[in-house]
């Protein structure tokens, strides 16, 4: 079964450093998403991406965050200057373009980001 692949599975970084989290969505999917989940808390929407641009973003997704689809397969989330409170599990998700209510999203296994 097709899956969303995220790398690395775990990243430790120093506060203030830049990190790039990588995702390979399912090949025929056109909508892409990033979510985060702080340990023990709910899944929080960060950003949605379609047709090479951001379609929706949350208040969490401030100027420190950016997303990019640098080629036909990868979808990345960059955090410019990490803070301790950025420590969380980050999930990438994608869905097919069969209309806005056709399907659920396929999530990756996540990248656990630890900022020290």
């Amino acid at each position: 079964e097709p899956e969303v692949t995220q790398t690395p599975s775990h990243q430790v970084t120093q506060m203030g450093q830049e990190v790039i989290l990588r995702c390979v969505p399912i090949s025929n999917h056109l909508y892409f998403y990033w979510y985060r989940q702080i340990l023990g808390q709910k899944v929080e929407f960060l950003v949605s991406f379609y047709n090479n641009e951001i379609s929706e973003k949350s208040e969490i997704f401030d100027d420190q965050f950016s997303v990019e689809r640098p080629d036909g397969s990868n979808f990345t989330l960059k955090i410019r200057s990490t803070k301790l409170e950025d420590s969380a599990m980050y999930f990438c998700a994608s869905r097919e373009d069969r209309g806005p209510t056709s399907d659920g999203y396929t999530f990756g296994s996540g990248t656990r980001l630890t900022v020290v």
């Binding site: 909508y31 808390q41 929407f45 209510t101 399907d103 996540g110």
Partner: protein, 111 residues
């Protein structure tokens, strides 16, 4: 502000019984609602989607209802099994595609 509440953090039931999980929301008019299963350390896994104009959806042992007047969705697992033990999340999706997740309900099915 928008608020989503899922019933009690933990639900314990006996194998073979029906589990019923609740998702209530306020100050929100979702285009549709999704239910996911999440196991520890893993990403959510999509189970069912129900649109605002649908009352009920079924898939194997799963059933979802959606009452936009009550602003509530119920998620049922019939003939529950220990393997159904997990955290179940509801998510509301707006027309713009922004999703809001509930805190989740942890279900434990005892043999």
């Amino acid at each position: 502000s928008q608020k989503i509440e899922q019933n009690s953090e933990a639900l314990n039931i006996q194998e073979g019984k029906t589990a019923t999980l609740t998702c209530n929301y306020t100050n929100y008019s979702p285009a549709y609602l999704q239910w996911y299963r999440q196991d520890p350390g893993r990403g959510p896994v999509f189970l069912l989607l129900i649109r605002e104009n649908e009352k009920e959806k079924r898939k194997e042992r799963l059933k979802v209802t959606f009452d936009t007047t009550l602003k509530q969705s119920l998620f049922h697992i019939t003939a529950s099994q220990p393997a159904d033990s997990a955290t179940y999340l509801c998510a509301l999706i707006s027309n713009a595609g922004k999703s809001t997740f509930g805190d989740g309900t942890t279900l434990t099915v005892k043999p």
